[in-house]
Amino acid sequence: MVIRLKTPLLKKDLVKLKVKDEVYLSGIIYTMRDRSSQLLVELIKKKKSLPLDLKNQVIYYCGPNFKGKMLGACGPTTSRRMDIYLEELLKKGLSASIGKGERSFFVRDLCRKYKSVYFLTYGGCGAYLRERIKKYKLIAFPHLGSEAIYEFEVEDFPLIVGIDTEGNSIRG
């Protein structure tokens, strides 16, 4: 059975999710990668205003392709590289992250501490996942190219719970 959820994601919805649950997510998600995470965390540390409000939001580790104005492939990138930035974003109220691959062990503790969820989606399937993205908008750091932060409006974006709010991981 697939669980359908809409953003923003509230803690009360997140705590119900268990590892391996299949979820279809609709609403808004924000792309992020190495350099955009780094810049965002720098702004947080300098107590500057942020280009987006992270409260109850979902980030997607992804660097999309664009064919002119049309969105191209936009699948997940390896989440592990962004582990070091996660806690600062969780402190700002981030609900969940989406990506591919296993994360560092401490991310399980972070998920438990902040009642956050890590979702996996289909790695290497950027053309397939694009079909679930209805609109996109540039939010911040355009000079980073594909690493800029984009807002995606998604419909039934397919996810699997990788780490739940109790810190259980799909990898055991």
Binding site: G72, Y122, C125, G126
Partner: protein, 270 residues
Amino acid sequence: MKIEEIVEKLTIKANINLREDVKKILKEALRKEKNKRVKRILEVIMENARIALKKNIAICQDTGLPLVFLEVGKDINLNSSLIEKINKGVISGYKKAGFRKSTIDKHGKLSYTPKIFHIDFVNAKGLKITIFPKGFGSEAKSALKVFPPTVKKEEIDEFIIKTVKNADIDACPPYFIGIGIGGDSSFALILAKKALCEDLSKPNKDKELDKWEKNLMRKLNKLGIGIMEKKGSTVLAVRIKRFPTHIAGIPVGVNISCHALRSATVKINF
């Protein structure tokens, strides 16, 4: 057609048209798979390839470092102007198809290609060009070890197994594993990439290597890494290439490819 145009087309093909041998192997894996959730993942992977081709978009947003392999025949006058033309073709392919700028220099400047060419001179006619867009989720899991010359096969296996175990599910399984044995250390890693450019749906022509590959694949799939959860086959094919080396060592390079193993080859006769 000008060489730039040929390469432009080839570059786009490599990124949007999943290789026939890869499709064949995926189809066979799907047929054999019994677990429903794993079946679903394999179906999505195949559906992804169909959508990419139909809508003319990249199979994966990581259109990689576009590596170029050349086999230069004896009638080809290879010089820097020919290399420049090929590189121009690659860049114009990336631009035209809307592929990502994934190359970055030390100043943070983004571009399409670092212009990496691997060139062989062959005793034939014509020019064979292979475009191999290598994604970095899988490239990040590459490994090299130089063994002593008396090493046992089992010890080499152990190293390869450790490498795949370390990749876990980070490099988009199910995987294709390229292995290069011989040459010098850097050459072994290039051999491993060349192995991945071969038709993997056909067995290795070298009977001994074919046996080794099959045995390795069995061992690798016993690791139980799975694809997302710990279910399903992690490795779909192993290809080993050998090359003469120094009497004092055996370099072994491992290059992992995600399930979206991409490359395209053209042979041009002038």
